[in-house]
Amino acid sequence: MIRLTTPLTEEAIRQLKVGDEVLLNGNVVLSRDMGHKFMKEQKPEWLKPILENMVIYHCGPVVRKNADGSWTFVAAGPTTSIREEPYQADVIETYKVRGVIGKGGMGKKTSEGLQKTGAVYLHATGGAGSLLAERVKRVVDVKMLEEFGSPEAFWIIEVEDFPLVVTMDSHGGSLHEIVAQQSQDRAKALMA
C-alpha cells in the first residue's frame, strides 16, 4: 500500500506501476462531462493554480447543504471515465495534472497523455458511493456550481486514505487493455 499526498511530484508519479494500491490524501478536484468540455475548449487560467500537480476525480456527488452553509458529501463514488477520453489528454497537459481518478479505465489518447506529462489513472470502486464519501474529510470549495449544477461542478475536497488502484501508469501500462484483450479472445472462443 502506497500513501500519497497531493500536490504530487512527477518523480513520485513516475514510480507508480499498474497494480499498485494507493491511499490518497489531500485535496482533489472533482470534474466530469461539462467541466472537461469547458477545460478543453476555454482553458480557463483561474483553474491553473487549482489543478497544477493535483488530481482530478471523475465524480458527480450527492451533496447536502448544512444549516451553516457548509456542504457534506453524502455519496461520492466515481463515474465512467471513458466519456472524457476526447478531452483528458489535453486537460492533463494544459493543467499539469498528476492523476485522474475514475472507473472503467480510459483509452489510448489518455494513455499517451499520461506518459507525456507524467500522470496516472487511479481506479476507484464504482458504486461504492457511501464507502468513498466516508473518506471525504471536508469540502474545501466549489467552483461553477451555479453554472453547472451540483453533479457537474468543480468541487474541491480533502480526502483521507482514499482507496485506489493504479490501472494506467505513466509508462504505457494499462490493466484495462489487458483485460479487454483477454476477454475479446475468450469471447471469440465462446462464439465459435
Partner: protein
Amino acid sequence: MSECVVPTLTSAEVVASKSVLPEGWKADMSNLAGLDLTLCATELLRRTTSRLPQDVIDALVKGRDAEEPGSRAFNTLNDMVRNIILADGNVSPLCQDTGSIIFWVRHPFGFSQRAARKQLRAAVMEATKRSWLRPNCVESLSGKNSGTNMDPFHDHHPAFHFEEWDQAHIEVSVMQKGGGSENVGAQYRLPDAALGAGRDIKGVRKCIIDAVVKAQGQGCSPGILGVSIGGDRVTGWERAKELVLRKLGTANPDPKMDAFEKELTRDLNTLGIGPMGYGGATTVLGVSAEEMYRHPASFYVSIAYMCWSSRRGTLTLAADGQPSYDL
C-alpha cells in the same frame, strides 16, 4: 483486507422506525380515486436508494466467495458489501448516481393514474430534497440541471408504466437506473454480419456476449442483464428493462429460456472481465431473457445492463390499505 465482510443489514424493525410514514398509516382503499401515494412512495425511494434487495446481496457474496481471497476481484466485491452495510446503516444513497427513476404501477379499476403521476413526482422531488436522490435531470443541449429531478420540457421524468389489473391491491415498483450502466446497454438487429449472428438462439447468444465484452467494467460489473428477444425498438427495450426487476435465482417460467440463461451466465463468467473490469470470475450476477413477438422483417435483441447496485423495490398496498415493502 481479505477477511470476508458479512453483510449484516439493519433489522426490519429499525428500517420501519426510520420510515417517513406515520405509525399505523393505511391507505383508504374504499376511495381509490382519492388515494395519496406521496408519502408511501417517498418511503419506497428512501429504501431503494439505501438498501439492495437480498437476492442481489446474496449473489455478490456468492461471487466474492468464489474469487481468490486477497485478489483485486475479491477485495472489490468485499468493498461492495461494505458499501451496502454503510448505506443501509446511514440511510444514504448506495451510489452517487441515484439513476433515472422508473415506476411500474399496477392498480385496480377506479384508481386515478393522473393523480398518481402527480403524487409520485412529488415523492421524487421530496427524496431529492432530502439528498436521497441526486438531481439527475438536465436539459439535453445546455446541460442545465432542473435541480428537482423533474423533466424541464415535458413530463417524461420520472418514467411511468401503468397497468390496470383485476386484483384489489396496488403495487408500485421502482427502479433507479444508473447512467453508466444505461450507456452500455445495446440493441442488435439480426442478422448481424459483423458478429456472424443469425436469426436464431445462437445469434442471440453472440449479441449478448458481444455487449458484455464491449461493456467491460464500465457499467459497474458484475452486471445483471435483462434481454428481450423480438418486439420493436421500443417494446423490446421496455421489456428488457422490466426483466431486470426479476429476482435473481428465480427460474425462468420458460424451461428452454431458463436453460439458456443458466448456460449463458456460466459462459459470461469465463470472460475474465470481473468486478469493475479488474479481472476475475464474477462478470455478471444473472441474465433474465424472454422471447416476444416480432415483425417478420425485424429481429431485435435488446440488452438492458444493470449495475451491481441494482436498486429496485416494490411497495404493496393490500386490499385493506396496509402498506408493505419488499426491502
